[in-house]
Amino acid sequence: MNLLAQLAPPNTFWTAHNGSTLLWVEIIVAFLLGCGVVFGLAYIPKELRKPIIVTATFLGGFYFVLQYMWPQAQDYTKTEVPRNSVESVSFWLQSSLPTVTNFNQVLTGLLLGLGIASLLRVHIGRVVKKHQDWPYSLTLVISMVVMTVFGYWDWYSKLGPGAEKATLANPQIFPNFGWNFLFEGLFINLDAVMYSMIAFFIFSAAYRSFRLRSAEATVLLGTAVLVMLSLMGGVLVGWDRVVDALGGSGHGAVATFMGNFRLGNIKDWVQNYVQSPSIRAIEFGLAIGLLAMSLRLWLGIEKGING
């Protein structure tokens, strides 16, 4: 029972070749259909729109509930016949997953277009009206256009129609160089610069947090200092030698007791018996909150704060 035609020959409606006329027709029809649905939803009355959205959400959610709950076939391969109705459903669920997740990607792509339109509207508006700091907006618009052009040019020269022939006869060095320069040479480095700034922000935030303002801040400071010291090799060795000397030699009760105060053991205790349980408790709460929110959205009973 393979409803999504994964086993059909490659030149059917579902699996048209890359660059074929059929694929282009499909893309155009799907685009027009998608636009029709979006504009249709925008213009129908509000009271009619809500049930449609709630039903679509419920059906979409129900599919993934089935994915999670329905017993799935062990060692599933698409070359086998299901043995019973339970396996038939599980085969259908497993084979349809890539297609269903593609819906999500298509929708995300459509909405990304809206995001980019908003970004361009804000920044082109700023440039045209010469708002304060408009050169930054101009930089953003130029960067976006140049990156897009080189990205597509590079892709077209490598993977577009006729790309293999073009690469052998006439290697496309410039688009690749341009894309590499912009992405690897500029973007990645700028990303790293932003990331490295976190170190300074951690320092300033830690300075404020660790000031002895209250009992809680004092406990925080003490614990943090112990954990930090345990990560310094020299301090760790020195501390442990003092503790061992106080405990005396051998495996007596005093030595065993003093062993608890070795710096590594203190750090492990703090991390395993104080930090981890606290984080897990918070995560339990978060997971249940997420479950409740998802359930309300799925069943269409989420009211929102403003009703």
């Binding site: 890539p98 995300t108 970004l119 951690i202 935030a205 359930l295 704060i305 403003n306």
Partner: protein, 312 residues
């Protein structure tokens, strides 16, 4: 799919949690009065918006890297409440998003808020902005807005990762009052260090019930508390049971006697030497390996071009 790892336990557990939620929603809808404790971070929302109004500077709202899912929707829910407050006083707002899908939804929700407050002309379409879906490009863009616009209040709520501290410290630098919430527990300490108020853990999800007192939301919140109590009870019971098992109940095993052919004798392992896999608690959560298929499946007749044998 989940039976492979956890048997029917997880399925039953999820069903019980869902029952708690739905039962309490129904209970609250019937008019049962349910109590919610005070949450300081949410009480501070009015204070922060009021401060922005007095200073004539914008309120900034950022849902982090949240996408169009429960976390993002919850963040926008809280932001819609803040926007309503801001719209009442004519305080400008800014909302920055890293997800294009959430951006589209947020823009519509904020537009609706201004319309329902009777001031649709106050809504500036550029106040809700998509910045970038790249983490640090997004962080750089938002920091630029914080510093240039000199926001007076900053609400950071949603999925936060490494960029959280960059934003929180930048807002702190210009003296903005900050209320934050992160569903990513590793970022919560950073936000506590840098912000004035932080919603910890599920307080983020409790916000809508706390602010609106809507029966569905309040009932759901009480259902969440019941679920947490159940989890706590299971932890305590299994801790006690495992301790008893490791202290008092020995493990037996069969051993063949040397030189005596196939004669087996039962021997005992001291309780404290039990392996994890032999404990009741372990067997409860990891019941068994899947059995071999019986009968085996038939093969499909495929077209000769189809060589791909992989699943999906």
């Amino acid at each position: 799919m989940q039976y492979y790892d956890t048997g029917y336990l997880q399925f039953v557990f999820v069903v019980v949690l869902v029952f708690f939620l739905i039962f309490n929603i129904v209970r609250a809808r019937k008019g049962k009065s349910l109590f919610i404790r005070r949450i300081a971070g949410l009480n501070a929302i009015d204070e922060a918006v009021g401060r922005s109004t007095e200073m004539g500077r914008p309120v900034l709202m950022v849902p982090g890297l949240s996408n169009l899912g429960p976390v993002g929707i919850q963040a926008v829910n809280i932001f819609s409440y803040i926007t309503r407050k801001a719209a009442k006083f004519g305080t400008p707002i800014k909302m920055c998003l890293a997800d294009a899908a959430l951006f589209s939804v947020a823009q519509e929700i904020i537009r609706d808020v201004y319309q329902s407050e009777g001031v649709p002309d106050q809504f500036d379409p550029t106040s809700v902005r998509f910045i970038s879906d790249r983490q640090f490009a997004f962080a750089a863009g938002v920091v630029g807005i914080i510093l240039r616009e000199k926001v007076a209040a900053c609400f950071l709520m949603g999925d936060w990762y490494a960029e959280s501290l960059i934003l929180a410290e930048s807002a702190n630098e210009i003296g903005a009052i900050q209320v934050a919430a992160s569903t990513i527990t590793t970022q919560t300490p950073f936000l506590i260090a840098a912000c004035d108020y932080v919603l910890i853990g599920d307080e983020f999800y409790a916000a809508s019930a706390y602010l609106s007192r809507e029966p569905v939301l309040v009932g759901s919140l009480v259902g969440q508390d019941w679920s947490k109590l159940l989890i706590a009870a299971i932890i305590i019971v299994l801790t006690v049971q495992t301790s008893i098992e490791k202290a008092f109940i020995p493990q037996t095993y069969q051993e063949s006697q040397e030189g005596a052919g196939k004669v087996w004798t039962t021997k005992q392992i001291p309780p404290h030497l039990k392996k994890k896999a032999e404990l009741f608690e372990r067997r409860l959560f990891y019941p068994h390996d899947p059995e071999a298929l019986n009968p085996k499946r038939q093969k499909l007749k495929l077209d000769p071009w189809d060589k791909d044998d992989s699943g999906g």
